[in-house]
Symmetry: C2
Subunit: 500 residues, 2 copies
């Protein structure tokens, strides 16, 4: 590495480290807002967040950063692979932050906030007509933004949207995989439902289940799976999420006393996210190469824990004795019944309530429609009918109203076109990674039954967590499994779990 | 107001508002660090705090701020009284931030951190010899810093230290008041002890007292006193404090199950601080005139609640039925016994454990010694002997070791010379404010017995809280009580509570 590139990189790293510290502080302000903050502090917190966000942007966006990026790039021949990747990520961050003019960014954010706010009421009131002009404005601005950003990144508008959520992801990767799923998943869902219909309906556990006991049980599972409580916590919030930073991973969950399985699976899902964050390479903490990958890879880490591992029989053989010790025994906690309960497949209208088999169908629907919304081929006014028709074709049921149809999700209301595919790519990646892990750890199920997750976590650490953003999600999956991401392992997983 | 001054002030307010938002974010990071943060996040949090602190300083310290201050000051004839005060506070903030060269600030902070860190062990090990060189270095740098800062503010070094903790406070105000106290308080303490010796020793409540019940009881008292839970919370921490911001006041407390009175009084003390913060003028949130006054005034607000109100019989007549309802009845919770318990006067070695009558003696001792430490008249090496002699003279007992003598407090270890007097000035102000309030609200005790604190809080809001930093503490006390701050009301209070 020459002196020019070296000194430019050093100075870039200083700036990005400062930006990263401000973002870390922001992560705590967001976490606190969702967990502990009293309502009356909302305005003050909004102002704090706006100021810190502005400062994080100011650290990045300057002529100096631009000059340093140019200098380092002109001289990049001597850079290590790691520095080359880091430089590319810094350039990407700079372009994403600067490509769209400030007034357009602000107009988009304002329209998104207005639309999202109105949506909370319009969804409850099932009032698509009231939401329509707001959503039209959001779409208009998203089209403009995606087009400008796409021009700067040399990407199509939809690819420019995908890039926001998963670096390097292109629709040329997404569409074939979702097309493949479309070709066989609807039939497989029917088969699974037919098979499950021949079995007795699983019994629901009967509560009440004390919150404190649920939390203690969940923390026990987290600890067993390898969550480091010296670098993280579990708290309560209205919507479960994982916030904080790698050295302070803040999981949240919600509880009802009527049941425990949903909260338990919620904790296990968030634990997957948090194990990933805690496993990121400590050597590169403040550098972009040290961060977690995109949403698809992140979701693969939550789903490999929740869906692949914890809804499997081996994990439940380990977990159910602990559940019974916590809550007392009851018929619903018998191994067969609990597994049937946590692997039920049903056609439903609501994505967030969907099981792992039908979930991709909800995503396929949204992927098809959001591309047309972005291109303008689908007008917002036509969305309800097109949505309902697509639901009928893909999932076989038709929403009776928009609340349970095209008004159900927050994503588009805020302009988040391109987010939905990452859920399903994450599910496919989880299945593919689990298959590779099973090949590598031949007695995995025995270890899991014994409550030993050391080898499992070690494999994830080596093949996923420790890589950070040193490669794209596609490269990480390829390296870890030997093949490109596809739906094959997911198909095999569904077949094995539901049809054997 | 002319255009020049007006536009300069507007731009100054924008900068100070930005700085204030970063400081608000910092307040949350500090609060979280003391309450929830897992240990492993300490380094990351330190880095975040350092970065945000640096940014808050950068917003303030610039040629532009300096020019704007000059412009506004040259044109200040037309400014309102409020803007004049605000401008003076902005100048003060600028001078405090810039007077001391950066390398000296950094050297002081580093020496303070080193000394404070070592002190935690050296106090436990009762090892003054080990602490001595560290404290000498801190004192050397504090002398240098206070001298440079004093030159910039046209103040003596000790006044420059006082100014850090209480804007406008001078030793010419402090010394006469403490001298007055010295002239009669030791004898009064003896009288009180003699009187209390003639009465039966009060019984200690017998636990265990469940933490959750203590917390719920404390929250009930907070609510009754007027704490707004939509703008604040109560949580647990190792050392009780009030953090956060006026619209998000975060109280903390610690509990033991063996007793409840200490935790209850701790909550009530912090509630006094928090009521002050919540009562600051909302119209001036982001301006310096809208902030709370110095440490003396802040302490007066905690002590007027804890010491003046809640250790009084009227409050306890209201509170004890609630305490008995929470924990069940027992002889220690009889009105007379509980009041005797919470107003016991004893000579002790440790300041933080002292009752309201002996506490000022601990402060008088420290005030005398810290002025000599700062001037160099007292060498650190001589501190233990001088301390022990002074304890014997003032309080009548001699520490058997330095752990219970000159090593007990953190303040000097970190260079915080000038802080101690604010504790006692706060106690005197609390007594003087309470006397004025009693004159204004003639049936105060009846209201308090009925659990009605509306008039009490209203009086504090009007005469103290709502004034923010629009006047000095001295002016606020003068305006609220009609006389300058003195020890007279405190003397009358002690006489009334302990000797009648």
């Amino acid at each position: 590495m020459t002196n020019t590139a070296s000194s430019a990189l050093t100075r870039l790293h200083q700036s990005f480290r400062r930006r990263s510290l401000v973002e870390d502080a922001l992560a705590m302000l967001y976490w606190d807002r969702s967990t502990l903050m009293p309502d009356g502090a909302a305005d003050a917190r909004t102002d704090q967040i706006a100021e810190l966000t502005r400062m994080a942007r100011e650290i990045l966006v300057s002529d100096e950063t631009s000059d340093l990026l140019d200098a380092a790039e002109q001289d990049r021949a001597g850079l290590s692979a790691l520095d080359t990747r880091d430089l590319a990520l810094m350039r990407r961050a700079y372009v994403l932050e600067t490509a769209v003019p400030a007034d357009l960014v602000e107009a988009s954010q304002r329209a998104g906030a207005r639309s999202e706010m109105a949506w909370r009421q319009n969804r409850a009131a099932n009032d698509f007509a009231a939401q329509r002009p707001l959503l039209e404005e959001v779409m208009r601005l998203t089209q403009e933004t995606a087009s400008v950003r796409g021009a700067a990144l040399n990407l199509s508008p939809y690819d420019a949207q995908l890039e926001l959520f998963e670096p390097g992801l292109r629709d040329a990767d997404v569409a074939p995989v979702l097309d493949d799923l479309s070709s066989w998943l609807p039939q497989m869902v029917q088969q699974i439902i037919d098979v499950q219909a021949t079995r007795p309906t699983p019994q629901e556990p009967r509560g009440p289940f004390a919150e404190a006991t649920q939390k203690a049980l969940g923390e026990g599972f987290m600890r067993a799976l390898g969550f480091d409580f010296s670098r993280g916590r579990l708290d309560a919030s209205l919507h479960p999420f994982t916030g904080g930073i790698p050295d302070d991973s803040r999981l949240t969950n919600r509880y009802t006393t009527a049941g425990f399985a949903e909260a338990m699976m919620g904790i296990l899902h968030e634990t997957g996210h948090a194990l990933y964050e805690q496993g990121l390479p400590a050597d590169h903490r403040a550098r972009l190469v040290g961060r977690s990958g995109g949403m698809a890879l992140h979701e693969s880490q939550s789903l490999i824990i929740e869906m692949q591992l914890c809804r499997g029989q081996a994990f439940q053989d380990y977990a159910l004795p602990l559940v019974r010790a916590a809550f007392g025994d009851q018929p619903a906690l018998a191994a067969g019944n609990f597994n049937a309960l946590t692997t039920r497949v049903e056609r439903g209208l609501i994505r967030v309530d969907a099981d792992e088999a039908t979930y991709p169908l909800h995503v396929i629907l949204r992927h098809g429609l959001e591309r047309q919304l972005l291109s303008g081929d689908l007008a917002v006014v036509d969305l309800p009918d097109v949505w309902n028709n697509a639901m009928e074709t893909l999932i076989g049921i038709r929403p009776g109203d928009d609340r349970n149809g095209c008004l159900q999700d927050i994503h588009w209301m805020d302009g988040a076109i391109g987010y939905f595919p990452t859920y399903t790519l994450g599910a496919l990646a989880a299945a593919q990674l689990m298959a590779a892990m099973r090949s590598a750890i031949t007695d995995l199920d025995e270890q899991v039954r014994a409550g030993d997750f050391t080898a499992l976590l070690g494999w994830l650490r080596r093949h996923v967590h420790q890589r950070g953003l040193q490669a794209t999600t596609g490269e990480i999956i390829q390296d870890a499994t030997g093949t490109a991401l596809s739906a094959d392992a997911f198909r095999a997983h569904l077949t094995s779990r539901y049809l054997n």
